[in-house]
Amino acid sequence: MSGQGGAMRDTGTDEGYTTADGRKIGGVAMEMRNITLRFGGVVAIKDISFDIRWGEIRAIIGPNGAGKSSMLNVISGFYHPQEGEVLYKGKRRPKMRPYQVARMGIARTFQNIALFEGMSVLDNIMTGRLHHMKANLLQQALWWGRASREEAENRTQVEKIIDFLEIQHIRKTPVARLPYGLKKRVELARALAAEPAILLLDEPMAGMNVEEKEDMSRFILDVNDEFGTTTVLIEHDMGVVMDLSDRVVVMDYGRKIGDGTPDEVRSNDEVIKAYLGVAHE
């Protein structure tokens, strides 16, 4: 797997680096600068900076309540940090509504599945292609011209994703009837349908059995491999994280306590303390 890839990396230049298995990682796609997020008196994220490079799989790990999901919510525009800034493609991103962030090519999945339960799998995934469809109200109402043409074109794209994630058999099933593991996969499909530049995955493997986890890991790697999608993921399963990701950010109590390749992080004293606890002298 690609995980041991940090050895040859060169963070000194902005041209990126090459992983051990030969994948090219590009320049900085997104940069967090001194992000601080507070909810009233509670400080969820304290002065965190890190970057995400084009084409890499970037993991955010940390114990419960460390602020990982809050960090993801900052990236997807759902929370607005009180201090610090988010740079996307080298430019400072102004305060935006989540749907505007989505329009910039950032898609995400949720920790607790957030599918549209009343709709079929196909409709859920088609909804992900929102920004690829431009027909206006009148064209849609008359099902004429652009509306019906776009529907067929985007269906072709959606079918590719359905094939890719091996969910052909449940295409027309209402989402409410699906088991948990498949719902997670449909959610990934919906995020992929947007053809995102950056894909955010919030605990994509929570509550799955070993086999489902293996499937999901394979899909994440394949997506990264085939589409070159930059992926940011939060995960609790250390084995999975260390195997999948190129670089890892470790958070604890809202602070960043480690950042680097899986090997670097694994041997970091503070990270070991946070995860294993520390002996009292």
């Binding site: 997807s76 759902f78 509504r97 989540p98 749907y99 989505a102 329009r103 898609a107 995400r108 949720f110 957030a114 599918l115 549209f116 339960e117 009343g118 709709m119 409709d123 088609m126 909804t127 992900g128 929102l130 920004h131 469809m133 027909a135 109200l137 849609q140 109402a141 008359l142 099902w143 509306a147 019906s148 776009e150 529907e151 067929a152 269906r155 072709t156 079918e159 919906r190 995020a191 947007a194």
Partner: protein
């Protein structure tokens, strides 16, 4: 055996995506359309038109509109009666201000006026959800009815406070006013209903419909994948009010002929249409038809059965009718909380495999 999809292969996404993918369904639909357009006009008389068919067609349009708002977009509204009144008064003002304008355009324009008013009263939906939104739309109901009964400009200063529809013709045939025949009334309502149902179907199966449903099912997730909640909710209010406005305009011009806002478009109308949507099935085009049929045709059929067939006294039958319809509503909601449309869907799913389910 007739109703099956085995061997019915689709070779394009367009074909897979059509409204009636199963051949038998499609033929059934053509048959109903043909029957409604060709056979019914031959037999329809004043009694059938006035007591059953025309109100059924008009209320189906209102139910379609409310279903878009509640069933597809998940925004609860109790202002349907008032929006129908906007359609009615809008068409009245247009008819009297532009006597030469064709009645079809008058009704469509009244729909657009109602859409504008609907958007205005839909604005609170951006902040308020669920029952609280229902209460906010209740304000629309009371405010608009007050406006139409207290502001003489809206009823052209007529001494009775009523509005009445002058005679208007389509292709030389009177469709409104006292000279309108049953067939003419039926045909204009049917044409409006069929085209609006087709529009509703197209809107709900396309991207706009998916955005509405996304907002209904999980608004936060919808916003994160890129649905603009402002746009989605306001288009739902606009389209829904457009439908409701047209139904109000038809109710006034074609069916009632004369109306007074407080009486014809009170809160009871809001509830009637809401019940149609709930009983018929939220989020289903067919549900709007089924719900309107149940609440409009049901009572008349019961009356025919009790009074004409069994010979019971009219007053006894009237009370029994209310009780039976009430009981039926409860039974329906217990058997299938998702309405007649869901019941119909279950039957169809069983039929697909019948008679060899294994």
């Amino acid at each position: 055996m007739l109703y099956r999809e085995a061997g019915d292969f689709k070779t394009s996404y367009g074909a897979d995506n059509q409204t009636f993918p199963i051949r038998f369904d499609r033929y059934g639909y053509y048959f109903v359309l043909g029957f409604a357009f060709l056979v019914v006009p031959l037999f329809i008389n004043d009694y059938w038109a006035n007591s059953i068919v025309v109100p059924f067609l008009i209320y189906t349009i209102a139910a379609l509109g409310l279903n878009i708002l509640i069933g597809y977009c998940g925004q609860l509204s109790l202002g349907t009666g008032a929006f129908m009144a906007v359609g009615a008064y809008g068409s009245y003002k247009l008819m009297t201000a532009f006597p030469d304008l064709n009645i079809v355009f008058v009704i469509i324009l009244a729909g657009f006026v109602t859409a504008g008013v609907g958007v205005l009263f839909g604005l609170p939906s951006l902040r308020i959800k669920g029952f609280y939104l229902a209460v906010a739309t209740l304000a629309a109901q009371f405010f608009l009815i007050w406006l139409f009964t207290r502001q003489p400009w809206f009823y052209n200063y007529s001494p009775t406070g009523m509005i009445s529809a002058p005679t208007r013709e389509v292709f030389g045939v009177a469709v409104t006013g006292p000279r309108a025949s049953a067939v003419a009334m039926y045909m204009i309502c049917l044409c409006f209903l069929v085209s609006l149902a087709w529009l509703a179907r197209n809107l709900t199966r396309g991207m706009l419909g998916r955005q509405w449903m996304a907002i209904r099912d999980m608004d936060i997730a919808a916003e994160i994948i890129g649905v603009n909640p402002l746009m989605a909710k306001l288009t739902a209010f606009a389209v829904s009010s457009f439908f409701v406005g047209i139904s109000g305009a038809l109710l006034f011009t074609v069916y009632l002929g004369a109306a007074e806002a407080g009486e014809a478009f009170g809160i009871d109308k809001s509830f009637l249409v809401l019940f149609m949507v709930i009983i018929g099935g939220l989020g289903s085009i067919f549900g709007a038809f089924a719900g309107a049929a149940f609440l409009i045709v049901g009572p008349v059929m019961l009356k025919l059965l009790l009074v004409n067939t069994l010979g019971w006294p009219t007053d006894l039958a009237a009370h029994l009718e209310i009780m039976i319809i009430g009981a039926l509503i409860i039974v329906f909601l217990i058997v299938e909380p998702h309405g007649i449309a869901a019941l119909w869907r279950t039957i169809k799913e069983k039929l697909r495999l019948w008679p060899f389910p294994y």
